[in-house]
């Protein structure tokens, strides 16, 4: 009898656990089930997301106002480079003071620089920052990975009018504006030691001065970024066109041309000098006579060169064809991006904060704090910025550059390969024009092949 009772109890226990599991399903579903249910209800709507957009736009722009009394709460993560962490924290305090509705949110600022931010965002979007800064060449990569939200419509107009056109262009894919321009200083120019380099306007002179002084001349020719100084300077072209969602649609390249050949030969010739060093990081440079580098190193450059600190636009060089060319290259920008959010309230706060952190006043304050050149036109026209040595050198260089558009990630490694081929001596001054043309043709073909992927 006892045994039978036990049997009964046991089967009941099992049945109960079964039932319990089934019953809890709708109520406290875990991750997979919830998403699934959402999806099922969403399914009809997915067919017409575009038509939905304008309708939802209207109430959505009101959202901040209607929600004003509460403003919501939660956590907002911000990633910026290490040296502006403290500055950003201060700025967020000001933002909270100016927008009491948003003061309940818990803001955290972490030191994740422009270099790491994109990689980390792509590794795991959900664990990434809600607002993060990045260099604009990462834009399409971030959009494709779904790590970047479209600019809030209420901010679009202001961003477009207040920042310089090039920086706005850099934050745009197709016709869609994605990110908030923060700086217009991500270009490069020449830092040099006055006591070594006498004439910074000619590449040949710089090299010979450095050779004579037993100093090094740094130019990172194996970087797709610095390398374009030669190609664009000589008149070759390489740009990509993107659609709104970040996919490449076409590639315009004239690297395999006489202009490309001039550029390639100049790089090879530069490499042949004993004074040449490949690199653009002051931190790992020794015996620097001159270095092609950006504004982010201006502090370090001042410390390094001391009284002999000087900077200038990039020099001219005499090509193999006897003509004189001005080194060109990219003008670059730092942008602030907002991650797509599942919660509209939070998105509104993020948008407001990103807009604040890239507003003219904050950009100017940031310049004063760490020397980052603003993209905001009003800030650019302020006295302090205009009188900055490094920024003026950059501004001078900027007229010879093109704003850096979108390039596929593979381009950068391809360019490194081309540069390494020069540095490692696969391509030398002894190489025939045919070999060089072949390398350029190969380069151009590979660049174009990225479009179809």
């Amino acid at each position: 009898m006892r045994k039978k009772l036990l049997a009964l109890v046991l089967s009941l226990v099992l049945a109960a656990s079964l039932l319990a599991a089934c019953q809890t399903k709708p109520a406290e579903t875990e991750a997979p089930a919830t998403t699934q249910e959402n999806k099922e209800t969403d399914a009809p709507e997915t067919d017409a997301p575009e038509t939905d957009a304008p309708e939802t736009d209207a109430p959505e722009t009101d959202a901040p106002e209607t929600d004003a009394p509460t403003g919501g709460a939660g956590e907002i993560k911000v990633w910026v480079a290490d040296n502006v962490v403290d500055f950003t924290k201060k700025a967020i305090e000001d933002f909270k003071a100016a927008n009491p509705d948003y003061a309940d949110w818990n803001y955290t600022v972490e030191a994740v620089g422009e270099g790491d931010a994109a990689t980390n965002m792509i590794t795991d979007v959900t664990a990434g920052a809600d607002i993060y800064s990045f260099a604009q060449d990462q834009l399409s990569r971030l959009v494709i990975a779904g790590a970047l939200e479209v600019m809030a419509p209420e901010n679009e107009e202001a961003v477009k009018t207040e920042n310089d056109a090039a920086s706005v262009g850099a934050a745009t894919l197709g016709d869609t504006l994605y990110a908030y321009p923060m700086t217009s200083d991500n270009g490069y120019f020449l830092y040099y030691d006055k006591s070594v380099v006498t004439d910074p306007s000619s590449l040949e002179k710089i090299v010979s001065d450095c050779e004579a002084g037993g100093k090094n001349f740094y130019f990172e020719i194996n970087s797709g970024w610095y390398q374009t100084a030669f190609f664009f300077g000589a008149g070759a072209e390489l740009t990509y066109d993107c659609d709104d969602s970040g996919n490449l649609v076409s590639c315009n390249s004239t690297y395999a041309s006489d202009a490309g050949l001039v550029a390639l030969k100049e790089m090879i010739e530069l490499k042949a000098s004993p004074a040449f060093q490949n690199g653009s990081s002051l931190s790992s440079a020794t015996d620097v006579g001159a270095i092609v580098d950006g504004t982010w190193d201006s502090g370090a450059a001042k410390d390094l060169f001391g009284d002999n600190y000087a900077c200038a636009k990039l020099p001219e060089f005499e090509g193999a064809d006897g003509k004189t060319y001005q080194l060109g290259g990219f003008g670059g920008f730092k942008l602030l991006g907002v991650k797509p959010q599942e919660d509209e309230e939070k998105l509104a706060v993020c948008d407001a904060l990103a807009a604040y952190l890239t507003s003219g006043d904050v950009q100017l304050a940031r310049y004063k704090e760490v020397g980052w050149g603003p993209s905001n036109i009003a800030a650019q026209n302020s006295e302090e910025v205009k009188s900055d040595e490094a920024l003026s050198a950059l501004a001078e260089q900027l007229q010879f550059t093109i704003p850096q558009g979108q390039y596929p990630g593979d381009y950068w490694s391809l360019a490194t390969s081309l540069g390494d081929s020069i540095i490692s001596g696969e391509l030398t001054t002894a190489s025939s024009d045919e070999d060089l043309q072949k390398a350029l043709q190969n380069f151009e073909d590979t660049c174009k092949s990225y479009v179809n992927q």
Partner: protein, 294 residues
């Protein structure tokens, strides 16, 4: 005859002396080569940012000695102390837990005969040949589902290194194999259980290998800059010291941090080296045994 041998020994002695001279010369040269980089690192760590910049230079002895870099590390300007503590916690926890796991596995594989034992040993051996980096992304999301990334990166790191440590049974099992089985048998006849044998007999006898295991486990986390940065990204205070120092060298935001990197490196090297040197005897026993047993 006697004279002859005497001559021989004299010439041999001389030859030996000449040979020894060259041996010493060689050893001194080797020592210089071996010590030079460490000497360089220590010297660089005394170069001040203020006077000589913090980047690379092409000389060894700083023109002016200063403790600036060390002051910087301890000043609280960065989270260096936190990173250091993190690493210490990870290293200590891993050393203890991993050793326990390895002892358990080794004892079971060395002393017990059960179904699937050979399969298990071969399977683990083969698993070890699969490149670990590949699984980083998967481990990251596994840890994330239980909340052990970013804020929880430190327990997460400990969990991952301890969880797969059973596969490192090799050296320890090899050592236990050399302990005569007759001892076990005698104890079993006396009525001791397997657990009792492990605790009262095997553990004391396996002391050198236990220390070796703990030492190796303790040293590994100090050099983990890849996986640790992968699961802690975007959360400065969960970095370990290797991740942070590595970032100073490789991330462009940190200009002129080279000498600070050196100072940090010295601080990392000191405890690890000291521990290693004091337990060197056991380490030798471990690697030698491991190499031969295979």
């Amino acid at each position: 005859m006697a004279k002859n041998t005497e001559k021989k020994t004299v010439s041999m002695k001389r030859r030996q002396r000449v040979g020894n001279f060259f041996s010493y010369l060689l050893l001194i040269v080797l020592s210089i080569i071996w010590l030079f980089p460490f000497f360089g690192i220590v010297m660089q760590s005394f170069r001040s940012y203020q006077t000589e910049f913090g980047g690379m230079v092409n000389y060894v002895i700083p023109k002016q000695f200063s403790l600036d870099n060390y002051k910087f590390l301890f000043s609280g300007e960065t989270n260096f102390l936190k990173w250091y503590m993190n690493t210490l916690i990870i290293a200590a926890a891993v050393a203890v837990l991993q050793t326990i796991i390895i002892i358990c596995t080794s004892y079971a594989l060395s002393r017990m005969r059960f179904k699937g034992r050979n399969f298990l040993m071969r399977f683990w051996l083969i698993l070890g040949m699969f490149p670990g980096f590949l699984t980083m992304i998967c481990l990251y999301f596994l840890l994330k589902t239980i909340g052990l990334t970013q804020q929880g990166a430190i327990p997460g790191l400990i969990l991952v290194s301890v969880a797969s440590s059973g596969m490192g049974y090799y050296v320890c099992k090899g050592y236990m194999d050399t302990v005569p089985k007759a001892l076990d048998e005698a104890a079993r006849i006396d009525g001791a259980s397997r657990a009792r044998i492990l605790f009262t007999m095997m553990l004391p006898m396996a002391k050198p290998i236990i220390i070796y295991t703990a030492l190796v486990s303790f040293m590994a986390p100090w050099c983990d800059y890849i996986f640790a940065s992968y699961i802690a990204f975007g959360h400065d205070s969960s970095y370990n010291v290797a991740v942070a120092l590595y970032r100073w060298m490789k991330v462009n935001d940190y200009q002129g941090f080279f000498t600070r990197f050196c100072a940090g490196g010295v601080l990392v090297a000191i405890p690890v080296t000291a521990l290693f040197m004091s337990l060197q005897k056991y380490y030798v026993e471990g690697v030698t045994g491991g190499a031969v047993k295979g």
